[in-house]
Symmetry: C2
Subunit: 326 residues, 2 copies
């Protein structure tokens, strides 16, 4: 028996798996743009990248609205800009409501560019969704996004029955969702009835096995030292990344609401996801894990026609349906 | 956007993760013996390897029995040798019973060598367990193991209330568990109330992304072309590996019992596991997935003192407790 500190892997060619849909295979073959493969170094360089990508992202919103028959209205709540995302065929009299926190490494996806996940949820689930357009660099730094999300949640919860409300988000949005629930417990704010957390940036200290094992396999995040890490550092603005607000894996899990977690086998944050799942279960929280074959980070958000996308959202909707009071 | 058919990964050194227990880290550092790294080519070479490893495996059984206060008796049921595995502090009057199907690629772990998982379940769960010592090469080939398992289950179910019974197993035992449930549906045999399937050999055609992505990272199975594949071919004896009995991922999932599935992020069969989870969910079956940080194939069976081991079994016990009639 040899005692190794590392596992040496030779160079390899990993084939595209035949076990994912044709739509997902196309996403797995795509490359990130050069601006993310070689991430910006300065705030002004970031601003250029954010703006360019946000234009692309925002262009998808009206397509999704049309496809899913969803209406979007700009609103302001607790002084924070947000979007009301409402399906045309919302069930009348349904008091259930979801709050959406978009992803994008705390820097990407301002405005309409952050709406895709909210529209998919409103479309697949027929839920009325409030999507928070929280502050990001260079307008504001940590803990601005966290505070915006908490302010919106507090107001939203006061306008109805938090037992009929859920919160969801992916990546940074998943981490913000978890951090919000932990803060609600800590500060005795109302708790949502359920959470849906997609592949959360729950440990921004790059701790977790799949930061290494899935490096280069995840064609969205690419590397633990890539654009998402750089963007997160920009938002953190010198603050310790091990702070549970920036790495909620180090926060408290007792008494959190029932949670459904989503990841994929090529996800750089698969370890983040399963570690959060274990922490919730260790704390006695009802927690459901779904891991999709072959999927990289958040890839279920990028093609509304992929059967995996429908499957992810159908499971989340089922979970919210089970836990939200009517 | 480049359209790639493969993902090229450079050679890499993957560190041991700090996010697993010290016990699990030791297991992650271990190497398989040379007899499995360079698998046998002939039936007689296999017999030598099986015997040597079975002696080691059997030596662990009395240690586990003592540690968990579990009694083991040889029995025969429906003409098949088996073991009654009963905790000293079994709840009196408890009619619930579990059937265990050991793993070992259809070739390894004859006799007492196949008992570890059964003793762990009896110890952690206080369940009375019947562990099937099914026929393996060179004594018998496909479908002997499948038939033995079905014969034992049919008899066991006739001796009590199948609604108070569960079936569990890992690796080949997980595949045999799934194949048994599919056969029970097909042949109108009684169904168990719940299944616990650990990292199943559900697709022996080597289809599934983690057969490639986790190659060399999984220090138990090592490679899709390693000893487990060779052993499975020995058992299959020329039979088509895509037959749903040998690859139950291609079988029918409708109407199967509630199932809990276990895997790890370094598991070569992580894709097998999550694909079975999705198939069950697509068929509307209640199915719970747990994936453990860093764990290779079935590694939760190899150190009874690892906290991950207790966590795996505690979750399975909770699942059986919820689904088995009392």
């Amino acid at each position: 028996m040899s005692l190794k500190q590392t596992t040496q892997l030779p160079s390899r060619d990993i084939p595209l798996p035949p076990t994912v849909s044709a739509e997902m295979r196309e996403l797995m073959r795509a490359s990130q743009p050069a601006s993310l493969r070689n991430p910006p170094n300065t705030v002004s360089e970031w601003a250029v990248v954010v703006t360019a990508l946000a234009q692309q992202g925002a262009a998808r919103a009206p397509q999704l609205m049309q496809r899913f028959n969803v209406r979007v209205d700009r609103v302001e709540i607790a002084g924070v800009p947000a979007f009301d995302v409402v399906p045309d065929d919302a069930r009348p009299g349904d008091r259930r409501r979801l709050m959406h926190i978009h992803g994008g490494c705390y820097v990407l996806n301002p405005g309409e560019a952050g709406l895709a996940e909210a529209i998919l949820m409103a479309g697949f689930g027929k839920y009325s969704v409030l999507s928070v357009d929280y502050r990001m660099p260079p307008a504001a730094y940590f803990p601005a996004a966290h505070d915006d999300v908490a302010a919106v949640w507090t107001r939203l919860a006061s306008q109805g029955d938090p037992k009929a409300m859920g919160v969801f988000g992916t990546s940074a949005g998943g981490a913000l969702t978890l951090a919000l629930a932990q803060r609600a417990r800590r500060e005795n704010l109302p708790l949502p009835a359920a959470l849906a957390i997609g592949t959360p940036m729950a440990d921004t200290t790059k701790t977790g096995d799949t930061f290494y094992t899935n490096e280069g396999l995840d064609n969205v995040l690419l590397s633990r030292d890539g654009f998402c890490d750089a963007a997160t550092r920009l938002y953190a603005n010198g603050h310790d990344l091990a702070d549970p607000r920036l790495s909620p894996i180090y926060g408290a899990f007792e008494g959190l609401p029932p949670t459904i977690l989503t990841s994929g086998t090529r996800d750089l944050l698969l370890s983040n996801t399963v570690r959060v799942h274990r922490k919730l279960r260790q704390a006695g929280v009802e927690a459901v894990l779904q891991v999709f074959e072959g999927l990289a980070h958040a890839q279920y958000l990028f093609d509304e026609n992929a059967p995996e996308t429908k499957e992810v959202f159908d499971e989340i909707v089922l979970f919210f349906d089970r836990h939200l009071a009517r």
